[in-house]
């Protein structure tokens, strides 16, 4: 039996921290709905419901290009990394073969390496093969990195699939690829979607690689475009920077609100199974 007061103070504490978690986002959203001439200070409520700052930021910051770049990179990385992780996870999670433990450990090692550990040689390697400044320089390294997470995740998922299903299918004469496609794939599909959601989010939000790889190029990504735009615009008009920031965050936030179970489950499972 807990007293009513205690219960209310728990809700108060949770409410306070929830407000803190959401406030920075609300503050830029409010800022974006101001006019430059409002000379905004502090936490004033929106003065206008016009989307002028958004359209202005979109054109001035060239965000059509950045959004497209981010989408292209995130979609390619997600599709390829998910497909390859499905295969590695299948091999490591359902088949017994020599060295499987070593291969698994080697691939999971990649979870530790930050892009800080790879970005310098990658930059010069891509220069050597004349790919500097192209989206390949973001897509390929992020596929490599996402496969670590994906292999780790999909292997764990395949380990939970019932062996009897696989054996029954094999006795019926199904080959490995057939078993994956018709027997196991339907079972691991929800987990694969979770992986896709996570990889898409990480790739969309990535900044360091884009900053290094796309320097001096016409290509850009949404976060990189935002960083440049903020650098040249903030002192002049913070409302436009806020609008740009909201637009860059929006796609992932929208996906999060629709698929939030996948996000939380994915991050939790990924973290705790390690």
């Amino acid at each position: 039996m807990t007293s009513r007061l205690d219960r209310y103070s728990t809700y108060a504490a949770l409410g306070l921290f929830s407000a803190l978690a959401i406030y920075p986002l609300v503050s830029i959203l409010f800022l974006a709905f101001h006019k430059k001439t409002d000379n905004v200070t502090g936490f004033s409520l929106p003065t206008t419901i016009s989307f002028h700052t958004f359209t202005a930021a979109w054109t001035e910051g060239g965000f059509a290009k950045g959004m497209w770049g981010s989408f292209l990179v995130a979609a390619s990385v997600t599709a390829v990394a998910a497909a390859l992780s499905l295969l590695t996870g299948y091999a490591l999670g359902t088949m017994r073969f020599r060295g499987s433990g070593i291969w698994f450990n080697l691939m999971v090692l990649g979870l530790i390496f930050p892009y800080e550990a790879t970005v310098i040689p990658l930059y010069y390697d891509f220069q050597d093969v004349h790919l500097s400044g192209t989206y390949w320089t973001l897509i390929l390294p992020q596929i490599g990195q996402s496969i670590s997470l994906g292999t780790f995740w999909m292997r764990a998922v395949f380990l939970t699939t019932p062996r009897s299903l696989v054996e029954a299918a094999r006795i019926d004469g199904a080959g490995s690829l057939r078993i994956l496609r018709s027997v196991l794939f339907p079972q691991v599909r929800p987990a694969l979607l979770t992986l896709c959601v996570l990889v898409f989010m990480y790739t969309w939000n990535e900044f360091l690689l884009a900053l290094v790889m796309l320097q001096g190029s016409n290509n850009t990504t949404a976060p990189l475009g935002l960083s440049y735009f903020a650098g040249v615009t903030r002192s002049g008009d913070p409302t436009k920077v806020a609008a740009a920031a909201v637009m860059v965050a929006l796609p992932v936030v929208a996906v999060y609100l629709v698929l939030q179970r996948h996000f939380i489950r994915g991050v939790l499972a990924g973290a705790l199974k390690g």
Binding site: G110, L226, A242, I264
Partner: protein
């Protein structure tokens, strides 16, 4: 790939092993992913370590430098200070967010709350926002005309108002608090996942024994979430050690180097002042530290599990 399915049954017949144990075909499934990982992640890490033994401006030919870069790294007060700043940031990213997470977990296990899904959704939100966006939001919050100083003035504490990100004393803590904001929701959700697995009887037994809020937390909740606590500590510490995006997009290492961190110096040395070898050495040391933290904590974790 279609070859794989045709060849699959063959090893079974040759080796006479149980059905369900194809072995060679496994390499075909493993290979594409393994190659992509080795070429684009593992090999570059090795290259980084190799580059750290050279003196190189990124254009002319490389000159063997032995341990020169490392000598410079450990001798330079600027680089040592950057690693020191990282340690300070761990206080904010890891220690503060763990403290907040533990406090809320204690409350939420003691008093059953409704609307857990709602709180989880909101508290996890910071994890999904691009760090560049987070940096813009906090640059505004810390701005002299932004909400924080306005709040201080409105409660009569206007003398504390300052240019937070440009202040010699306060810039680093201000950057650190961004990390606390990013991390605490994740920590809480990890801890709650652990707390959900604690048998309800343990709480009932503790209450029968007359345990209050604090005793219950120390005796039941804390041991029950020990593994999750270690995982949360690892993740937040690694985020604190990396932390390039926030620093680059808020302070760029300033004022006067007060918020320089190793990953920022790595970027600066490699791509702005073209001391590639030294940058590679910084990256190598940073990666080594992160690996040690990850391996050290995962060691604890497996011990605690047994």
């Amino acid at each position: 790939m279609s070859d794989a399915s045709r060849e699959a049954p063959r090893p079974r017949r040759v080796t006479g092993r149980a059905p369900g144990e194809p072995h060679r075909v496994a390499y075909l499934f493993l290979l594409p992913g393994l190659v992509a990982y080795v070429v684009f992640t593992l090999f570059p890490v090795v290259q980084t370590v190799r580059l750290s033994f050279y003196d190189w401006d990124g254009i002319t030919s490389k000159a063997w430098h032995g341990l020169g870069n490392y000598r410079e790294l450990f001798g330079s007060s600027e680089i040592r200070a950057a690693f020191g700043h990282s340690v300070e940031l761990i206080l904010f990213y890891a220690v503060f967010s763990l403290a907040i997470g533990l406090f809320l977990t204690a409350l939420m296990t003691h008093f059953r709350v409704r609307g857990l899904m709602f709180f989880r959704t909101v508290l996890f939100m910071p994890q999904t926002i691009a760090t560049v966006v987070v940096a813009q939001a906090f640059t505004w919050i810390y701005d002299p005309s932004g909400p924080l100083d306005a709040f201080l003035r409105s409660v009569g504490a206007g003398s504390f108002a300052k240019v937070w990100l440009g202040d010699f004393t306060w810039a680093l803590p201000a950057v650190g608090l961004i990390g606390t904001w990013i991390s605490f929701g994740l920590v809480l959700i990890l801890l709650l996942a652990g707390a959900q697995r604690i048998p309800q009887e343990l709480y009932e037994a503790a209450r029968v024994d007359g345990a209050g809020f604090v005793r219950e937390f120390v005796a039941v909740t804390l041991p029950g979430v020990r593994n999750e606590l270690l995982v949360a500590a690892t993740l937040t510490t690694i985020t604190a050690l990396r932390n390039f995006d926030i620093v680059y997009n808020t302070t760029s290492g300033g004022p006067a180097g007060r918020t320089e961190v190793p990953s920022w110096l790595m970027f600066h040395d490699a791509f702005e002042i073209h001391r590639v070898g030294l940058a590679a050495a910084i990256a190598t040391v940073l990666t080594a530290v992160i690996s040690l933290v990850a391996l050290g904590i995962s060691r604890f974790y497996t011990e605690a599990r047994q």
